[in-house]
Symmetry: C2
Subunit: 138 residues, 2 copies
């Protein structure tokens, strides 16, 4: 078993939070949205059909779990979300990953998708640590 490694591109914009049974869970370092990234720890996976059906079913359940975490982060920040946005894109970084983002009607980009748009704002370190603790405890 080789050690799973997140593509270096993820290191630039997100931080490791926790390992769930299938996925490495990362917090996107962007104060605008509660935003998790799920990386299935399956070497070489790019598309969903690079996973086995049991891995895909596990991924679906971890996506739902991530949605619940994102909802909780929004609530805890006093900004409950209006809609989850879930996407596997990978046009920029091919390693299979799923975005789970909490959106609000007043979030500045609504109703457009958030990817490929400027405006990211890094989290303050104290906020980042609070969020990471909440994700690890969820």
């Amino acid at each position: 078993m080789t050690e799973f490694k997140a593509d270096a591109a993820f290191e630039a914009g997100s931080v490791f939070a926790v390992d769930w049974p299938l996925c490495q869970i990362r917090l996107q370092d962007d104060a605008r949205f509660p935003w998790l990234i799920l990386l299935p720890r399956v070497d070489g996976a790019v598309e969903l059909d690079d996973l086995t059906p049991p891995q895909r079913a596990a991924l679906m359940e971890e996506v739902v779990r991530a949605g619940a975490v994102v909802r909780a982060l929004g609530l805890a920040a006093g900004r409950p979300i209006d809609k989850l946005n879930t996407a596997a894109l990978g046009n920029v970084t091919r390693q299979l990953h799923i975005h789970v983002v909490g959106r609000r009607r007043d979030d500045g980009l609504w109703p457009d998708p958030i990817w490929g748009r400027p405006g990211a704002r890094r989290l303050f370190e104290a906020d980042r640590e609070l969020l990471l603790r909440a994700i690890r405890g969820a």
Copy 2:
């Protein structure tokens, strides 16, 4: 059992293709990309966690099947895709739906996501019929 009904917003931009076990499969009426929309036939569903775990597992498998169809449509058109883009957004139309889109590096919007961007081009009727036949036979 009430009859499932796609939101009228889908009628404006896409056409019914076929019913799979869980989802109504629609062809997005846009000549730029091979693009399917999956609507789980579950009344009132908005988020993934409005489905039961077995429905979610079935959805995942239908998403993968849709990806294979999108790949085949790209090949048949002589424009093999470089990446699948899969997303459940729903900021504009809340009824739960999943986009499965075939992207190419030369598709004009690459690497950005395609939603919320202008430029849709309707399919010619003959092309639309060919695509619907291919989807129904897949």
